[in-house]
Each structure stands twice: as C-alpha cells, then as structure tokens.
C-alpha cells in the first residue's frame, strides 16, 4: 500500500504549517500557565519559584470569593448565550423567509458583527458611561448609580459588557444559524408542514432539533467572544470593572497583586467547564460525520447539483 503511506505523509506535511503555528505560539504559554499554577510564583515573594503542588488550587477552593466568581462567570456565560440564542434564532428564521426587504434587513443584522468588536466596545463603553457633559449623562448616571447600588459596585459596567456582547453575538448567531437553516434540505420543513399545522410545534419538533448542531457551535464560539469582550473592557478601563468574574479576579491577582500563581490557577479553573461544553459540542456537531475513509471505494452517486451551488 505505497499509495496509502504517501497519502498519510502528504497529509502530515500539509498539516505541519498549521500545527507549527499553533504549537509555536500556544504550547509554551499554556505550559507556563499550568506550571505557574502549581508554584508559589509571585512578584512579592522570594525570588525562586518553588513547586507547591495543588496548594494554589486548594486555597482557591476555600476562598468564598472564588465561588462567587465561578457562579458569576457561569451566569455571565449562560445569560449571554441564552440571550444570543433567544435573539439570534428568531432573526435567522425571519431572514430565511423570502421577503422583499430580506436583503436589506440581512445586511442590517450582519452589521453589529461586521463592526470590529475591539474598537466598537470603546465607543459602546463611552456611550453607556458618558462623561458628565453630555445631554443624556444625567439619565444614564442615575441609572448607573441605581444599578450599582442594587447589584454591587461595577455591576453597571459589567452589564454594559453583557449588553454589548449580546448585541454583537446575536448578530453572529443569527447569520450563522441562517447558514445552518440553508444547509438543511427544505423537504424536511415541507414535510413538517404536512404533518402539523401548529407553527410552534413545528418549530419545537423539527426546526430546533435540526438546528441544534449549528446552535451548539454558535454557542461555543459565543463563549470565546464573551471572554474576549470582558478582557477588552478590563484593558480599556484599566481594571475598573471589579465585578466578581473569574477573569477579573485572575487579572486583579496577577497584574495588580503580582500573585501570578494564584492568578494562573484561577484562570485555569474555567477550563473544566469549557471542556464539558466542548465535549457536548463534539457530540452534537461532530457526530453525523461519515467515518468512511476517504480512500475506501465508495462511489458517491449523489448528483453534484446542490453541492455545486456552493
């Protein structure tokens, strides 16, 4: 089977630039972060770093702040994700229906995502946290005060990140799911129309399950954007957001306090949650893939017609 060996060699050769890039950039930092989290590395402590085992993690688990942070973080991810789906799914369904204004509305829905997030968040932040001299500053200032009093300091700034993330994320989700809807054969929806006359029932029994794999992927990508937006605002405000999320805590410990080891442990504590999410994602999204080896002789008899439209 010389052909097979050649094919595999070629595959790894083609794969290598991407792997070198990923490993070259990420291997050391990730390794560093993991290693640091099991040492006592701190800018305040003695010069030498010593291995301390799981001490940082144990300390973390006994810290009530950490648990608050974990709950808030999971809530942040949950709320933003649900909101993105709650807004994105209807918009996708709306855009999938033929209409005269569809093209225009599609562009409008695409706009929030097209607006570069890293700088839009700056504008967004200034709009929601205006300096004293604008026309609506008093109104927003009052709101901010009320929110901060009700939910603790930093809540308003935090909520403005939530709003921004949802706004931009729902745009991404809507367009992404629109693509997903287009990928589902229309016969499936047409058949459902024969079977049930209830719109809601059709949505729940047919549309939602068919969309689920794409929703899973959109949700996962939304997590990464949720973290990125938070990080952006910390950077932007120089850490003015003090709301207890794990990221803030890690940032606070590491940059402000110089306790890098604890910071690393805290920021890694999110990984198990994300790994579970990832496992679910693969179950939903990566499952339907045919396992047939590309070299196995399976003549595909499908017409090229609809594939070619791509």
């Amino acid at each position: 089977m010389a052909g097979r060996a050649r094919r595999i060699t070629a595959a790894y050769l083609l794969l290598s630039p991407a792997l070198v890039l990923m490993l070259g950039v990420l291997a050391y930092p990730v390794g560093w972060e993991v290693w640091i989290s099991v040492t006592n590395f701190s800018s305040r402590g003695p010069g030498d770093r010593a291995f301390v085992g799981l001490l940082n993690y144990r300390a973390m688990l006994h810290d009530s702040e950490f648990w608050r942070g974990l709950v808030t973080t999971v809530a942040y991810l949950g709320v933003t994700t649900l909101a993105k789906l709650a807004l994105g799914v209807p918009m996708a369904l709306l855009l999938a229906r033929p209409s005269r204004w569809r093209a225009l509305v599609f562009l409008a829905v695409f706009l929030p995502w097209a607006f570069p997030g890293g700088i839009t968040v700056i504008a967004w932040y200034w709009m929601l946290n205006p300096p004293l001299v604008t026309s609506y500053a008093v109104a927003l200032g009052t709101l901010k005060h009320a929110v901060d009093v009700a939910a603790g300091g930093g809540a308003y700034a935090f909520l403005s990140v939530v709003a921004f993330n949802v706004w931009r994320g729902s745009s991404f989700t809507a367009v992404f799911l629109l693509a997903g809807l287009n990928a589902i054969p229309t016969e499936l929806f047409e058949y459902a129309r024969l079977e049930s006359s209830s719109v809601w029932q059709r949505f729940r029994e047919v549309t939602l399950p068919l969309l689920r794999p794409y929703m899973a992927l959109a949700v996962f990508l939304s997590f990464t954007s949720a973290f990125a937006d938070l990080a952006n605002v910390w950077m932007l405000t120089g850490g003015r957001i003090v709301f207890p999320v794990l990221g803030t805590q890690a940032y606070w410990l590491g940059i402000r306090g110089g306790q890098f080891a604890e910071a690393a442990a805290r920021s890694l504590s999110m990984v198990p949650v994300l790994v579970v999410a990832l496992a679910l994602l693969f179950r939903w999204f990566d499952r339907r893939e045919d396992t047939v080896d590309a070299a196995a002789p399976t003549a595909s008899g499908r017409s090229l017609g609809h594939r070619a439209a791509a």
């Binding site: 097209a114 570069p116 700088i119 990984v271």
Partner: protein
Amino acid sequence: MRRRTRAAGHALALALAALYSVFPIYFITVQSLKSPQEDVFGSPLWVRHPTFENYQELFAGGEARVRGYVIVPRVPFLGWVANSTIVLAFSVVLTLGAAVPAAYALGRLRPPGWRWWRRALFATYVVPHTILFIPLYQVVIALGLDDSHAALILIYATMALPFCIWILSAYYGHLPREIEESAFVEGATPLVAFLRVVLPMSRHVLVAAGLFTIGTVGQDFMFASIFLLDPGQQTVAAGLGVMDVSLEELVTVAGVNLAAIPVVLLCAVFARGYVRGLTAAMVEGA
C-alpha cells in the same frame, strides 16, 4: 384577512430586527456628529447641526494642543489605520495559508486520527486568555518580535485557525471524490487539480473563513494594547484605547466609526458569500 395580518407581522418583525441591529451604531454615529455645544444641550437621539469636527480632529495630527478645555493629544490616525490594515491583511493571509492545506489534509487525505486532530485544534479555544499574555509576551520577546506587527499576526492566526480549519475541512471532506478524479483523468497532477478545481470551488468557504478571521482580529483589543507600545506601530484599537483617557470621547467615537467603515464595507460586499460559504461547509452536518 389573516394573510394580511401575518404579512404585517412579518414586516414588523423585520423592522424590529433591523432597528435592534442598527440602533446602537446610529446612536454613536449621531453623537459623533455633534459639536461640543450640541453634545451637552441637544437631544441624544438626533443631531440638528451635524458637523465633522470630531472626524477632522483625527487628521489634525501634529502636536498635542488645547481644544476648548481639553488637551488633545497627538492622534496619528492615518498611521493607525495603516498599521491595522497591515495586521489585518497579513493575519488573513497567514490564517488561510495555513488553514487551507491543513483542512485539505484533514478533510480529504484523512490521516489516521484526523478527527482528533481537528478536535484538538478546536479545543485550543478553551485556553483562557486572561493572563496568557504574560507568557505570550515572553514568547514574543524570545522571537524578537516585541513591538512588531508580526507578534499580533501570529496570535490572531492561532485564534482564527481552528474554526477556519474546521469549516474548510468539512467542505473538502464532503466534496464528491469524482471532482478531483475527473481532473486526474483529464491530465492534472494532484496539485494542479487542487489549485484549478478544488480551491476555486471552495471560494465561498474561503470567504467565510476570511471574514471570520477579520472578525477575530477586529474583536481584539487586549493583545493589541499590550503588545504594541510604540505609538508608530499601534493599530486603531490600541491607539484609540490607550488614548481614551485623555482623548475627548466624541473624537474616539468618530475614530471608531471611521475605522469601522472599510471593514463594514468589506463585510457587506462578502456578506452573501459568507453565508453561502458557511452553508456549504455545513451541508450534511459538517
């Protein structure tokens, strides 16, 4: 009658979706067109006497000077835009350049464990970025890339690559084998068949991957502001963000809008291709 109600409901829903999506941008744009006086005394929802003062300020360049009560720092806006363009362009090229062969390998040549390679690459998204910039900075220094665009380009590429590889390999994996085989029979080598047949066929997926990369690059503010300290090297995000403390906020907003326009136009032009590309990759469950 019922049909009419439904059509009206549909139109209303469309209008709401558009309004929801556009309003924040409308809002900041309105503010950015205001003079300092109107900013204080006008309505927040519209502008009576639009002025491009804030936009012009971005190009005033030169020295820091006093404007009203505020000291306006030097704003090398054009330089930022140039830097952003460079970073964006090279990030897209590098990402697609690495993603296309990798995706072809995973989707088409399918070495043993291809599925796990794909998953492993995707799993890098769980790496928390919060304090990752500390070791990343060490890597950047070790590579001699401090204050260089290359550092950002490399980081952005690693952020966009997994998704791009995922969708491209899904597309290549589902492409009928006969497409390439017929090219072989017609006299093409594997490389020629790929370049002349497979690659052009996947152009919409390439567009989707490219726009996703642009979105990823555009989303970052953190790395740009950490790794680019030399004002001559800063991108729009780094520049505006660092300046914000001292810069009048309306000028900042104007800068955001101005920098966003080309990206938005680019996205608008390729929006349909983006959806078609994603669809093409998703057909049969990607």
